[in-house]
C-alpha cells in the first residue's frame, strides 16, 4: 500500500512547526502505524534526512507511550492505541495527516513527541495511598465488594496515554484525573487521603493549564481503554464533597 503522509515537523520545543509531505511507498497492510513510520524513517535515514521523532514503547497497547493524532483522531480511526492501529484500516493512496497530541500542557519536544509530564505531576499530587509497614496485614481486614472492585478496576485500566486530553475540544484532563480519583477513592486503601487527593489533583490539573469539561463525551470515544465519562461525574462529586467537608472540618477545628 502507498500513502502520502503530512507529518508535523518541529525541530525543538517552542519552534513553530510545519506539516511536511512524505511519501510512504510499498507498506504492508498488516504493518502497524508505528511500523509504517519505522520504514519511513529507515528510508529517510538512508537519504541522509532527519528521521521523524515519535514516542513508542511496548507496542502491544498497554503502556500508553504512543501518542499520535491521525487525521484529527487521537490514536487513529480505531479506538485502540497507535501501535495497535494497522495500515489495513486506511485506503491505498490515502493522504494521512499525522500530528502530536495537541494541548498547551503537552509541549512538543520534537516532531510527534510531546512532554506529557503534566499527567505525571497530577498523579504525583495525589495518586498514591498511605500504608503502614510491618507485618503482613490480615487479608480479610479490608473487604472490597465485587461492585466496588469493578468500579475501581474499570477506572484503574487507564494507561495515561493522554488521548482524552488530545480529543477534548476544551483541552481538559478530566477523564484522566477522574479515572485516577475513581480508582483510588472507591477502594478502602484510598480512604485516608480521599478528600485531600481530589483537591490536590484538581488543583494540579488547573495549575498545568488544562481546560474544563463541557460534557461532550469525546474523550471517552477516543480512550483506547474505553473509560466512561461516569468517572468525570465521580470526580465532580468527590471534589464538591471534599471542599464541603474541608470547610466543616476547619470550622470544627476553630470550635475546639
Amino acid at each position: 500500500m502507498n500513502f502520502t503522509l503530512q507529518i508535523w515537523r518541529q525541530d525543538r520545543p517552542g519552534d513553530s512547526g510545519r506539516y511536511e509531505t512524505i511519501e510512504a511507498h510499498e507498506i504492508d497492510a498488516e504493518a502497524s502505524f508505528l511500523e509504517m513510520l519505522d520504514q519511513v524513517n529507515e528510508r529517510l535515514i538512508a537519504q541522509g534526512s532527519r528521521a521523524v521523532a515519535f514516542d513508542s514503547d511496548c507496542r502491544e497497547g498497554i503502556c500508553g507511550a504512543c501518542s499520535l493524532t491521525i487525521d484529527g483522531l487521537p490514536h487513529g480511526p480505531q479506538q485502540v492505541t497507535t501501535c495497535q492501529t494497522y495500515m489495513r484500516d486506511f485506503r491505498d493512496g490515502q493522504t494521512i495527516r499525522v500530528e502530536p497530541f495537541r494541548n498547551n500542557a503537552f509541549p512538543v519536544m520534537r516532531d510527534l513527541v510531546t512532554d506529557r509530564g503534566a499527567l505525571d505531576r497530577i498523579i504525583q499530587s495525589g495518586g498514591y495511598i498511605s500504608t503502614s509497614t510491618g507485618p503482613q496485614p490480615e487479608p480479610n481486614a479490608m473487604p472490597v465488594s465485587p461492585e466496588v472492585q469493578t468500579t475501581a478496576m474499570d477506572a484503574a485500566i487507564c494507561i495515561g496515554c493522554g488521548a482524552c486530553v488530545a480529543a477534548c475540544p476544551n483541552g481538559a484532563a478530566m477523564l484522566f484525573t477522574g479515572a485516577k480519583v475513581t480508582h483510588l477513592n472507591s477502594l478502602p486503601q484510598g480512604q485516608a487521603e480521599r478528600g485531600d487527593r481530589v483537591r490536590s489533583m484538581v488543583h494540579q490539573m488547573d495549575a498545568e493549564g488544562f481546560g474544563g469539561c463541557t460534557n461532550f463525551g469525546e474523550c471517552s470515544l477516543a480512550c483506547p481503554q474505553e473509560i466512561s465519562i461516569d468517572v468525570i461525574g465521580t470526580l465532580n462529586r468527590e471534589y464538591r464533597k471534599a471542599v464541603r467537608d474541608e470547610k466543616k472540618a476547619s470550622k470544627k477545628m476553630v470550635a475546639q
Partner: protein, 254 residues
Amino acid sequence: MLVTDGTRARRSGLRELWDSSIGKKIAVAVSGGILVGYVVLHMLGNLNSLYGPGNGDARVDDYAHWLRTFGEPLLPYGFVLWAVRVLLLAALVVHVTGIVQLRARSRAARGGHPARRIGRSFSAATTIVTGSLLLAFIVFHILQFTTLTIDVTPLHEGAVYANLYNAFQKWYFVLLYVLAVGSLGFHLRHGVWSAVQTLGFDSPEKNQAIRRTAGALAVFVVVGFVLVPVLFWTGALSAPDVANTQASITVVAR
C-alpha cells in the same frame, strides 16, 4: 508547576471553588439551575393567557397583577417580583461570567489547534451559540414586554393580554419568539444533564434516565412557551375586548 505541599495554594470554601475549574463549573451549574427553575415557572405563568380575553378581564392580566401583590400586606407591593429579578440577575451574571472564564481557559489549553469533532451531539456543540442567542433575546424580551421600550405594536402597562395579542399579530415577532424558544430547548437539553453531571448527582445506572429527563424537560418547556405566540398568531386566541380592558387597567393600576 512542580508539586510541593509548601507551594500548594491552600484556600478554602467558596474561594477554592471559584478558583478551580470544577468549582467554577459548579457555580455555572447552580446558577443555571436557578434560571431553569425560573424558566419553568415563567412558562407555566404564560399559560394563563390561554384562558382567553375573558370579556375584558383576562386571566393573564390578573396573574400579572397577582405577581406584584404577592406577599401583601406582609411585604410591600412588588417586593417578591423585585426579589426574583435581583436573584435572576445575580444568577445570570454568575452563569455568564463563569462560562466566559471557563471558555477562555479551554481555548488557551488547546493552544490554537481546535479538536476535530468526533461525536458531540448537536445540542452540546451549539450550547455556547444558543446561550449567546438567549442572552441577546433576554435583553430584547425585557425591552419589549417588561419596560415596553420596543413599542412597535401598541403596548400598555398592565394590559398583558392585549400586548401579547397585538405583538403576536406580527409574523416576525412570532418567528423571533419561536426561534428563541428553540434555542432554549437545545440549550436545556445539553445544559440540564450537564449540570447534573457537574454537580456529581449522576451515577452510571441513572445516566440514561437523567439524559432522557433533560430531553423531556426541554420539550416540555419549548411546547409550553411556543403555544402562546402560535395560538395568538393563528387566531385561536381572540382579540381583547378593548373598551373593557381599558376600564380594568384603570382599576388595576394603583
